[in-house]
Structure formats: C-alpha cells, structure tokens
Amino acid sequence: MRVKIGFEIHEQLATRTKLFCTSPADYRDAEPNTNVCEICLGLPGAKPMGVNADAVEGVVAIALMLNCEIVQEPVYILRKHYDYPDLPSGYQRTSMPIGRNGELAGVKIWEVHLEEDPGKYDPVTGKVDYNRSGVPLVEIVTAPDITSPEEARAFMRELVKVLHYSGRVRREGGTMRVDVNVSIEDGARVEIKNINSIKGLYRALKFEITRQKNLRRRGRAVKRETRAYIEEQMITRSMRTKETAEDYRYIPDPDLPPLRLTPELVERVRSQLPEAPHQKLQRFMQQYRISKDDAWAITSEPELADAFERVCKEVEPLRAAAFFRHIIKKTLNYHNLSFAESGITVEDIVEVLQAMSSGRLSQQAGELVIREVVQQRRRASELVQQLSRVDERSLERAVEQALAENQKAVQDYLNGRKEAINFLLGQVMRITGGRADAAKALQMLRERLS
C-alpha cells in the first residue's frame, strides 16, 4: 500500500531576544515566568516591537540552504486564532511564506515561515510558563513526498544537519517539534503531533502506518483526525483538538507592517551563507583525498568538520580522517554527544595523533585518551604523558622483573610449554601499566629465554 508522509517542522532560532520584544530568548536556566514582559505575556494593550531582524535573516538563510526561492512580495505576519492555555493572546503570530519551492534530499520543501513559540503548558497540572512565549521559530513545510518511516528518518537526519549547519538554530537540542501527516492509498490524512526526536518520529510512523493498514484490511475507513504521539508507549492516540479549530480566522496583524525581503537583504544573507553539508562533503573528498565514507562521517556536524580542517594543518589528512571516523565519531556515538558538547579540542586531537605517529601511543591508548577527555574532561596532553609507551630501558627492566618474579613460568617455557610466554608478557604489561609495546616486549622475552 502506498504511503505518503509530509512534515511540518518547528525549530527555535538562536537569537538573543524574542521575536517581538527584548525579553531573553534563552530560557534554559531561567525561573518560570521571569523572561517575560507585557508583550510576550500578551497583556492588554501591549504592542509588538519591530520584528527581530536576526530571526528574519535566520529564516532567509535556512530557506536558501533548503534551495527555496525567497518571496519578493510583502510578507504579512498573520494572527492565527485558536484557544489553548499556552497562547497568552488567543492567537499565534505566523508569517506568510518567506521561502517557497525548495528541495532537500529529493523531498520538496513547500514553504518556510517565521513564527512565535507559545508558552509551555502542562495539561496535567495546568501550570503555564511563558518564558518560551514569543521565542522565534522557523517552520518548514514539506510536500508529502516521503513513502516510508526509514525514508522519513533519513530525511530528518539530513534536515537536522542542514539546520545545524546554518548556525541559526538553538544548539541545546530538545526544542524541535515535528507534526507529521500520513495517509495510505489516498485515504484520509492523519496528523500526528507532539513528536520531538527522530527516534520518536520513526516509531510514531511505524505505529501509525500499521494502525492505518490494519483498519483498511478490516475494511474500515481511516478517520481524518489529529493524533498525539505518546513517547512512553510508542503509540499514537486520538487527540482532543488543540490546534484544530475548524477555522483559524487568519488576519494580517494590524500591529505589524509586512516584512520586505529586499534583494539586498537576500544577497547579503546569501553571501554569508555557510557551506551546506553536501558541498562540504564534496570538497573534503577532493581537497583532502579522503573516501566518501570518511567525509560523510566527518561532515556529520559542522563543528567536527571544522576541527578536521584544523587538524589537517598539522597531521596527514588520511590518518586524521581515519582517526575522526573510527575513534572520535565512535566515541561520540557511544556517549550520544555532539562534538561541540564533547569537550574535545583540536589540540587534543593533534596531540594524540602526533603521539601515535611517533610510536609513543598505541592505537588503543589513543582511543583511551579520547574517551578520557570526554568522560573526565581532562586534556589530552596530560593523558598522553600517562599512557605513552615506556622507553627501551624501562621495558628491559620490566622484562627482567617479570622473569625474576616468575621462575615457575620461566621453567615451564624452557621445558617446552611455549604458551607460558603469554603469561610473562602479561606480567610485563602489568608492571608497565599497559604502556609497553607488546610486540617489542615479546621479542625481548624470547631473546632473554633463548
């Protein structure tokens, strides 16, 4: 059965102040209802200030990175009326499209808008916090071009990467909200709200498609409705309509003149646009002569890619690329951290790579250093010191000590039980704290026992 999936994606823009007032946009460490003023509280009489230009430019930049055309006519900011406890004025302000007709990874981008976040409402306790109210959002609407949960996941990963690359969205994570619409074989369109991770998106789609297919198999119609994704149970559930007022009664906000995205503004934003992920991938393959798989892993995050380029000034790119893909990326994935969050610096990486190429550090010890940097937030320079291989003289001393302390094993070896040498090697490693070059130690043991 043919499945059609489309998205509405909302992500917060990384501005200092809110969209229509100068209250702080970053509320992460704020007490409830402290990042507020009469404007974002929607108090009687409050009027919006001018639209935050940084937010407008952010949306233009994202629209351009999604290959949209930028609207040249005046862009009205509309009032979308609906009744919900998180909306202090009874309407949400949302712009008409700023970008249109874009494309990403084979999926058509219909529209890109600017809008304001509502407050945060807990339906169970009824508590409302307006710190989030008025924070600027970019809204991206795709065509229903996606045909499976797997494709949906791949597309979202790509989209998240582009948003991240744009440098215009909040990096703290956890602020993305996705509404998904799903239909099967031109049946009714079901909208799923309340999805805020790619994993959640995948699971919600899996569940919803199965649900719709089962209904059809039993000869029952799929109802056109809005459903909520229940994260804990990994199911979707019919939702009491929040935003499904039958009619939003859109009007241009009389308090806000339309935005004018002049060619000068668009050109300025375009000229400052960061390199898109796929462009960076191509360039890395050519410039550093690394494989596509390496380049893919390295460009998964712009900060990681930047670090790679800086490391390549000191270290041979092929070796750096292997280290980035197999050691750093693996460590990040294991800890579920982004590079920016990991605490790893370019200096750390250079330190480790140089120690490895000079033979002071084993491959395993190199990985250990990176892990310790992430877990202990220590610097590589001191860790390398601790983990670097012992020199020849110390190794010799360790070998002597191992032989002297383990006469029985020595006798066994000399009596023909060759595997006893492994025990002796283990003792050398113990004495050196694991910092011995195993091959060299083995060679020394054989020489001394022959």
């Binding site: 501005t15 200092r16 102040t17 100068t22 209250s23 702080p24 946009a25 970053d26 007490e31 409830p32 209802n33 402290t34 990042n35 507020v36 003023c37 009469e38 509280l41 108090l43 200030m49 001018g50 639209v51 935050n52 230009a53 940084d54 937010a55 407008v56 009205y76 919900y84 406890p85 409402y121 339906p123 169970v124 306790t125 009824g126 508590k127 409302v128 916090d129 307006y130 009491r240 929040k242 241009p252 009389p254 806000l256 003149p257 339309p258 935005l259």
Partner: protein, 74 residues
C-alpha cells in the same frame, strides 16, 4: 435583551451595514502607514519587578507558575 437576542439582532445589523458595500475592484488597505517594523537583535532585558507585578494579578497561580485548567486537554 438576552444574549441570544443580541446575537440574532447582530446579524440584522450586519446585513444593514453590508448592503452599502457592493463589489469593487481595489486593493485592500491593511495598514495606513509605511513602517519598516524591523529591529536589530540586542542585549536582552528583564524586569523582575514587572514579572512579579504581572504574576500578582493572576487569578490562579502556583508559585511562579500561572495556572490554567488542569486535566481538560489530556
């Protein structure tokens, strides 16, 4: 006059008014002035005496939270 009567009468008022506005071909006027309506992002401002004053007039609150209906949208 009851609220239902007001609403009924309102529709008659509407028809009386609207009958004077026949179809015309003209652009709509949404705004009578040209304003740029855009500002530079700036250092954020916070006024704790304001947020206290605003919270103090809430009909229902719980600590620093405003309180709306509970359970109705679950």
């Amino acid at each position: 006059m009851s609220r239902a009567e007001v609403v009924r009468e309102a529709e008659r008022v509407l028809q009386e008014l609207a009958k004077h506005l026949e179809e015309i071909e003209l652009e709509e006027t949404y705004h009578v002035i040209e304003a740029e309506g855009v500002r530079e992002d700036s250092a954020p401002e916070r006024d704790s005496s304001f947020s206290e004053a605003a919270l103090s007039i809430a009909p229902r609150r719980d600590g620093r939270y405003y309180v709306a209906e509970a359970g109705a949208w679950v």
